[in-house]
């Protein structure tokens, strides 16, 4: 196996066929349908067809009091529910000028980063499954289980958390949480080393990902791709740094970027982000102040008329909530800017002329969560 094949899109033969990938397909991880025009094994055009799992979350946000919408946020991207919680409560807090106690902010950061690690672990295992490696899934889920146990004790749920409230978080950390989290961090680091030896350095994996599926920074900007996708193109854009929210400005962490722009770069960004998230959790636990975890919030929360938004760095990229209020109890218009939607949008252009297997590896490296696209 020498240098990767330079793939010239076979054009002009005109003998193409349409391959309907999905809505039920093992590589789509949900109900994404991709209409592929193929020339043999080459993808001439991959047209994503979405809408199979649309649940009208935005409309639901417009016809119920703000607090009643809170559980919905965790169901948009079920893998990084806490980030979506965070964006929504952040937008409301910004609009209503609510004070959030510092302890609550630190707890938000700790839980969000744990959630990010668990989300990346799911991506990692699903991606390896796309590439035909079964075993990493079980290893990653072992580690993810520990995070889910930690968060379950705190939030009461294992996946679709609804833990943040306007003005803080619903419950203070239980007494053993800090200790258990530190234990988890200590266990996780050697595991990451093992992942590296078992998977990241594997020659077959490297051959399949290196120089495959390049996404240029221009393409990312054109389609609004964010998160590990744009950082895998060498652009150091992270909402936690670009527009610091919560207490991220008090914490020391790196924003990993890899300029190679290939699938491997996006892979390495996520692996490095797990390391950084562990660092953030460790620091936040050290700095955790005492005090209340829920600020003063009026019983009936009505936002003053206006246009408010709040962005967070979710596991898949920039997630922004925009609330247009007309002074009533429910929002006049609620808009969720979800990262997977933008990240998927570039797939059509990026996958042109690729081999089917490479195109699917590229799709896996975008870390798509389909309910996040359709919302």
């Amino acid at each position: 196996m020498s240098a990767p094949l330079k793939i010239e899109p076979a054009t002009g033969s005109g003998e193409t066929f349409v391959l309907n990938l999905g809505p039920q397909h093992p590589a789509a991880h949900g109900v994404l349908r991709v209409k592929m025009t193929m020339d043999g094994e080459y993808v001439m055009r991959a047209e994503p067809v979405i809408g199979y799992i649309h649940r009208m979350h935005e409309k639901m946000g417009e016809n119920r009091p703000l607090a009643h919408f809170l559980p919905n946020t965790g169901r948009v991207d079920y893998l990084s529910a806490l980030h979506y919680n965070h964006a929504f409560v952040g937008a409301v807090e910004r609009a209503a000028k609510l004070e959030v106690p510092p302890r609550a902010e630190f707890i938000r950061v700790i839980t969000s980063e744990l959630n990010r690690i668990s989300s990346h672990l799911v991506w990692w295992s699903a991606f390896l499954l796309d590439l035909g490696g079964f075993t990493p899934l079980l290893y990653a889920f072992d580690d993810r289980e520990k995070i889910l146990d930690l968060l379950e004790g705190l939030t009461g749920s294992r996946l679709t958390y609804c833990y943040f409230r306007f003005g803080g978080v619903v419950e203070d950390l239980d007494p053993g949480f800090a200790e258990r989290t530190r234990k988890f961090i200590a266990e996780m680091r050697p595991r990451l080393k093992m992942y590296r030896q078992l998977v990241t350095d594997n020659i077959i994996l490297r051959k399949r990902l290196e120089h495959i599926g390049p996404i240029s920074p221009d393409l990312c900007l054109k389609y609004g791709a964010t998160g590990p996708v744009i950082r895998g193109s060498g652009v150091s854009y992270d909402v936690r740094r670009a527009e610091p929210y919560s207490v991220y400005s008090q914490l020391d962490f790196d924003v990993p970027t890899f300029p190679e722009s290939d699938s491997m770069a996006r892979y390495l960004v996520r692996m490095e982000e797990i390391v950084q998230s562990l660092r953030i959790v460790e620091q936040a636990l050290d700095k955790l102040p005492d005090g209340p975890v829920l600020g003063k919030v009026p019983r009936v929360l009505k936002l003053p008329p206006g246009d408010y938004c709040y962005a967070v760095e979710a596991a898949r990229g920039r997630h922004m909530v925009r609330i247009v209020s007309d002074g009533k109890e429910a929002a006049y218009r609620l808009k969720l800017r979800t990262p997977s939607f933008s990240n998927l949008s570039l797939f059509e252009e990026a996958s042109k002329g690729m081999l089917l297997a490479d195109a699917l590896a590229l799709m896996g490296s975008l870390d798509l969560v389909i309910p996040d696209i359709d919302r």
């Binding site: 196996m1 490696g133 079964f134 075993t135 079980l138 072992d142 077959i204 051959k207 081999l355």
Partner: protein, 342 residues
């Protein structure tokens, strides 16, 4: 004993034994694979049906048999039904010439090795048939992949075998085993005097065997994350089950062949057994043969649960750009060695 030595009865008995051997191997290798995968993945594997899960294959087969066999309306019905029959036969035919122990061989043919390779190629035809007859885009893509993959890997495999044949000078599998009698350093794997790269040739043989049997990391035929289930997408029930059995039959065949060609077949590797042991020698030989073969089968399972799948052109590049040049070189080297020193 005198009854069994009459030719038709002996043939019938051998046939039944081979069918039983293939069937039991397929059933229990599936269990071994699932148990092994469980061990590799920190989980118990199937353990509900029977003690420790040993009835699991029975449950699986019952499930497969009781399922309806669906034939897609647009498919070529005759070919679609024929493919599962064609896929299992070649592996069984090949096992007929494999000597499991001294004198324990269904039919000793003096061109046994040639027969194994000619029948082994028919396996591809079956997958091509199933892919073609299914009238399914995933199936036809998988069939096209399998054909080019098998063409690519048959060449280095044959080159490796030719290298070996230059020192053995015979296509008779029993004869090849007899030449490896004595200590384990007489096995072809360790015969560095005729081929200094003998271990390399074995590795090439093993890789080609994985590719020929469509096993991970070369399982292009059913790359489930790309092609759903590849050529077998439209098969349900026992139709699918037969393809599954054929996969394991091919693994058993490939590993048996590797044992015969490189590891002395049923030779113990400790020197000849005393002549006074009589029939026990045959049984001991069988034990050694099976032990070596299943060690190789375990390696096959181990590889599957460790590595991700290769990309298709990576697979072809590996064969055309690496394996074929190396095997040509070993061929040359071995012929020079034999000419100079033998």
């Amino acid at each position: 004993m005198s009854l069994l030595s009459t030719e038709p009865l002996r043939l019938l008995a051998s046939l039944l034994l081979i069918i039983a051997f293939v069937g039991l191997n397929a059933a229990y290798l599936v269990l071994a694979e699932r148990k092994g995968a469980g061990r590799f993945q920190n989980r118990p594997g199937p353990n509900e049906a029977g003690y420790g899960g040993w009835l699991q294959p029975v449950a699986d087969v019952l499930k497969l048999i009781s399922k309806q066999i669906m034939v897609p309306p647009e498919s070529d019905r005759l070919l679609f039904r024929m493919a599962p029959l064609v896929v299992l036969t070649p592996a069984m035919m090949c096992l007929a010439v494999v000597p499991f122990s001294d004198t324990l061989v269904a039919r000793n043919v003096n061109v046994g090795l040639l027969m194994v390779f000619s029948f082994g190629s028919i396996n591809v035809m079956a997958i091509l048939l199933s892919g073609w007859a299914s009238r399914n885009k995933y199936a036809i893509m998988s069939a096209a992949r399998v054909v080019s993959q098998n063409v690519a890997y048959e060449i280095p495999m044959l080159l490796v075998v030719i290298t070996l044949l230059m020192s053995t000078g015979t296509l008779d599998l029993s004869e090849i085993i007899k030449q490896q009698a004595g200590g384990f350093w007489h096995w072809n794997f360790f015969r560095l005097d005729v081929n200094p790269l003998a271990p390399v040739t074995f590795v090439i043989f093993f890789i080609c065997m994985l590719a020929e049997a469509n096993r991970a990391p070369f399982d292009m035929a059913e790359a489930e994350s790309e092609l759903v289930a590849g050529a077998f997408t439209e098969y349900a029930g026992m139709g699918f089950g037969v393809f599954f059995m054929a996969e394991y039959a091919n693994i058993v065949l490939g590993c048996s062949l590797a044992t015969v060609l490189f590891f002395g077949g049923w030779q113990t590797g400790l020197g000849a057994l005393p002549a006074s042991w009589g029939a026990w020698k045959v049984l001991i030989g069988l034990g050694f043969f099976l032990a070596k073969m299943y060690a190789l089968v375990f390696t096959v399972i181990w590889v599957r649960w460790t590595f991700p799948r290769t990309q298709f052109y990576g697979l072809l590049n590996l064969s055309w750009k690496i394996l074929i040049p190396i095997s040509l070189f070993t061929l040359l080297l071995s012929s020079v060695m034999i000419k100079l020193f033998a």
